[in-house]
């Protein structure tokens, strides 16, 4: 059979093959890794700073427990609370995306996004590779301080959960990474419509901080009614994406969510990942179309 792809100039291009896309992606990942390693010093400082807010939270809750005679608040003992905060820190290490939305909107503003219009490469795939590299380097640097803190605080934790819970926990963490990534990437692509997205990012951060479980466990809101019979604030938040970027995996590890509820919530989390991935793709398509029409 004649080679349909050949031209009169011998083509310099190897045939694609089904794994060509994957190979591009892994090369991107490798190069992003190298680039991140240039900044390892910055990472070490950043990692250590992360522990500071936790310390103040622990002090705050210690004061709260000292002031009350109760052994637990909304099902959390003092030990549970400390364990909870340490675990949300782990979730945030997966789901937080420092600089992602800002970086995307900046690349639109300063025009460096053009490169991804001219080259046969997918911007979202590139961003994902870059972010995974970012995270991997972060974990390499952060594993020691994290392990140290968890060792020191080991007495606060309940016994290690069963295998099913551990699998669900790991799955919820991976999904929280993807969810955080696609939410913030979509946010950054608003830069195609608005010149400056930092105030939008700030508003998002606020909502995220309140509803993700960063400040307190979401199930503490289970008794607060919304006005609709039988529906609490926590029930509403469950159907939003935010709690899956901090609260949910921590609650899974602590055994607060189990059985059918666990399966349902994992499905909600996975559903949000799909929704945000699609939203991100649409934002990119429409955004680049707008960019092409209005300026570039």
């Amino acid at each position: 059979m004649s080679n349909a792809a050949s031209t009169d100039h011998a083509s310099p291009h190897a045939t694609g093959g089904p794994f060509a896309g994957l190979r591009i992606w892994f090369t991107m990942l490798a190069i992003c890794l190298e680039e991140r390693l240039v900044y390892r010093g910055d990472f070490i400082i950043g990692t250590l700073m992360r522990f500071l807010p936790i310390v103040t939270q622990v002090f705050l809750w210690t004061a709260v427990f000292n002031a009350t005679s109760k052994a637990d608040i909304a099902g959390y003992s003092r030990n549970d609370i400390v364990a909870y905060y340490l675990l949300t820190m782990v979730t945030r290490a997966f789901s937080s995306m420092p600089g992602l939305s800002g970086g995307i909107s900046r690349s639109v503003r300063d025009g460096s996004v053009k490169k991804y219009l001219v080259q046969p490469v997918d911007y979202v795939a590139y961003l994902l590779a870059a972010r995974i590299a970012h995270k991997l380097v972060y974990y390499i640097v952060a594993i020691l301080p994290f392990a140290g803190v968890f060792y020191v605080c080991r007495s606060y934790f309940p016994p290690v959960p069963d295998a099913v819970t551990i699998v669900a926990y790991v799955l919820s963490l991976v999904l929280s990474f993807l969810l955080g990534f696609f939410m913030e990437a979509t946010l950054g692509m608003l830069g195609f419509w608005f010149l400056e997205v930092s105030s939008i990012i700030f508003a998002y951060m606020l909502v995220q901080y309140l509803l993700s479980g960063h400040m307190f466990p979401i199930d503490m809101l289970a008794d607060i009614p919304t006005g609709i019979a039988g529906v609490s604030i926590a029930d509403v938040i469950r159907w939003l994406p935010f709690e899956y970027t901090a609260y949910f995996p921590a609650a899974v590890w602590l055994g607060k969510i189990q059985g059918a509820t666990l399966a349902r919530d994992l499905a909600i989390e996975a559903g949000w990942v799909v929704v945000m991935a699609v939203a991100c793709r649409i934002a990119w398509w429409r955004g680049t179309r707008r960019y092409s029409a209005f300026g570039g």
């Binding site: 310099p12 291009h13 190069i31 190298e34 460096s112 053009k114 490169k115 046969p120 092409s292 209005f294």
Partner: protein
């Protein structure tokens, strides 16, 4: 089996690689009046206006041509290159590059051309260029053996083999530009768009890049379209010059033709024995500039054969040279002519 019907875009030698027909691009810009009060009212009511960056440009470029786009700032040169590389969509008109509509941005098209914008880098800032090259190898799906060969050839042509292992941020502007060019050519594009490739570079670097582009173009029959403000680039590289002012093509033809068409004078420089007396040179009736014993006259091209012998007879001349008006000056005249043209249209 004979492979005449390739199914893909047809681009045999000599045929057009780029065809552009009545291509136009308008931008809507917001007028922001000066002052705080105006800024506040601007929050509620904005006046916008259409800017015509390109007003119906048509041209055809054949395989292996080297075309320079000249024009003052804001003439529409970069808009034109952005349209041809598919970054922006036109308001009206059509364009085909290698048989593709550029702004459809198919991967097949994007593997066959390259765009280098002078001040934008496609190289990774913190890594050696060799790493960016490796990424290009994957993105453009270049065969490993071919990649090595092409890369070695290109870096040797530019003399930057050692530099490709150094982080890009440590390199000078000229060195970076050379490596950008290598990155752009690794996938052996058939069409190359260059937006002010020599901007800010010293003479030596400019010269190296000229030599490089010439060699690459000759060897690979790459079709090159370049925008520049440097007449040296044009003189060294381009047989064909397209002058764009106010979004329209003012002139399209060989460089020599511009000189013929738009110059009325020759520059005659005389070295006299002594500084001429006042009125001594002026009496020939041509604009002249006197610096000590050196006199520069602008003489009508049609009259030079009559006038020059007369001057040589009547003055004691040590040395004489006759030159064309510098290209810069011709182009400046052209730009001014272009600036006047739209007004003429408007009143017509």
């Amino acid at each position: 089996m004979h492979n005449s019907n390739r199914g893909g875009p047809v681009d045999t030698d000599g045929a057009a690689v780029i065809t552009v027909d009545s291509l136009a691009k308008e931008y809507r810009v917001y007028d922001k009046p000066e002052g705080l009060l105006a800024s506040v009212t601007g929050l509620f009511h904005r006046t916008n206006r259409l800017v015509e960056a390109l007003r119906g440009v048509s041209l055809t470029v054949g395989r292996g041509e080297f075309v320079a786009l000249l024009g003052p700032n804001g003439a529409g040169k970069t808009t034109f290159l952005k349209l041809l590389s598919g970054i922006i969509t036109p308001s009206r008109g059509t364009a085909r590059v290698l048989g593709h509509v550029p702004w459809e941005r198919t991967d097949d098209f994007r593997r066959r051309f390259a765009l280098v914008m002078g001040q934008r880098n496609q190289l990774w800032w913190d890594l050696p260029a060799a790493e960016s090259f490796r990424l290009h190898k994957e993105i453009y799906r270049i065969e490993p053996a071919r990649f090595d060969r092409t890369r070695d050839e290109l870096v040797d042509l530019l003399g930057v083999r050692k530099l490709m292992l150094q982080p890009v941020r440590e390199l000078s502007l000229g060195e970076r530009m050379k490596l950008e060019l290598v990155a752009a050519l690794l996938h052996e594009p058939e069409v190359l768009f260059l937006d002010e490739p020599t901007i800010g570079l010293d003479v030596v670097a400019q010269h190296t890049i000229h030599g490089f582009l010439k060699a690459v173009q000759a060897e690979r029959r790459v079709t090159v379209v370049l925008t520049t403000h440097y007449m040296k680039d044009v003189a060294a590289l381009c047989e064909r010059v397209v002058v764009i002012t106010h979004g329209s093509i003012l002139h399209d033809g060989p460089l020599g033709e511009i000189v013929d068409r738009f110059t009325t004078h020759k520059i005659v420089t005389l070295d006299l024995d002594a500084t001429p007396a006042p009125g001594q040179m002026e009496r020939f009736g041509f604009p002249c500039e006197i610096r000590g014993p050196r006199v520069t006259l602008r003489i009508d091209r049609t009259r030079i054969a009559d006038v020059l012998p007369e001057i040589l007879r009547s003055e004691s001349v040590r040395d004489v040279s006759v030159e064309d008006v510098p290209l810069e000056e011709i182009v400046a005249t052209l730009f001014r002519a272009g600036a006047a043209a739209p007004m003429a249209e408007a009143t017509a």
